[in-house]
Symmetry: C2
Subunit: 181 residues, 2 copies
Amino acid sequence: MQRPPIKHCKNCGHAVVYRLPDDGDTKERAVCPVCNTVHYENPLTVVGTIPAWGDKVLLCKRNIEPRFGKWTLPAGFMELNETVAEGAARETTEEAGAQFEMGEFFSLVNIARVGQVHLFYRAQLLSDQFDPGFETQEARLFTEDEVPWDEIAFRTVGETLKRYFADRSKGQFGIHVFDIT
Amino acid sequence: MQRPPIKHCKNCGHAVVYRLPDDGDTKERAVCPVCNTVHYENPLTVVGTIPAWGDKVLLCKRNIEPRFGKWTLPAGFMELNETVAEGAARETTEEAGAQFEMGEFFSLVNIARVGQVHLFYRAQLLSDQFDPGFETQEARLFTEDEVPWDEIAFRTVGETLKRYFADRSKGQFGIHVFDIT
């Protein structure tokens, strides 16, 4: 995990200490010695889509770090007050400005090393015209052969794309659960 | 969302203000006016299992709030540095002290109202003897008819159990994605 440690209490601002909480918890947490607030650090959920147009998929060239200039599926951190599908749709609108219909759930990818779970849905594009937001330099359609496999931003995306094209060539889409170490 | 708001910066302890960050983000976040730390509040992932023994499933009677005394599947908040399956297995050990083999992914349940995603795996019990931890008053096996449907702690659990027994009677287990509003 590359997250910075919690140094101060989110409730009262006092310096925290890392220790076992008093409730029987078996993991050390950032605990406030003044107001007793326990700060939990939990995995983050990334949600996205595989937007399809005929035999092509939509990829976005990143205009932000990390992986500036590399290609990715539209995806980002899930927000409060939305479902996985709503979050995946929101990211597809924000990053690609695409017109689409949401499809079925496609992949659950664990990246335990960085405390993340990535969840992808299939989506059906309704147009091949895009209007990407500031996070994206360019949104473009690729057939399997055209995908810039060596220029994919994240392994979660590359591995999801491989399984997508494999299912597509079989004519049947499954649900894929796998880990990236 | 019932989570308390962030009042102080986790990095320096100064009082935060809720505003749009300077990076193009479209949602208000708790931002520190002194050290500029942006605090994100994200959905939490709950992971658990449906442990089966013949035509019975294992339920745990809760010994903690919320829903003290109600019955649930073994489940809890996913931790850093584990996969969904590892977290589900950990909770099954902690809450039921069960001997089991993990099975396939079974359900993804959105509860957007409280900012949670619940993920359940099937599991095959290897013994009908349990050694529940402090969070559980009692761990017991139930057939579908015996399940205390009116005493189930959480709708995510009740709805997952209904789908489990329906699939079981069809002789084929699927993967279920649904929302609880």
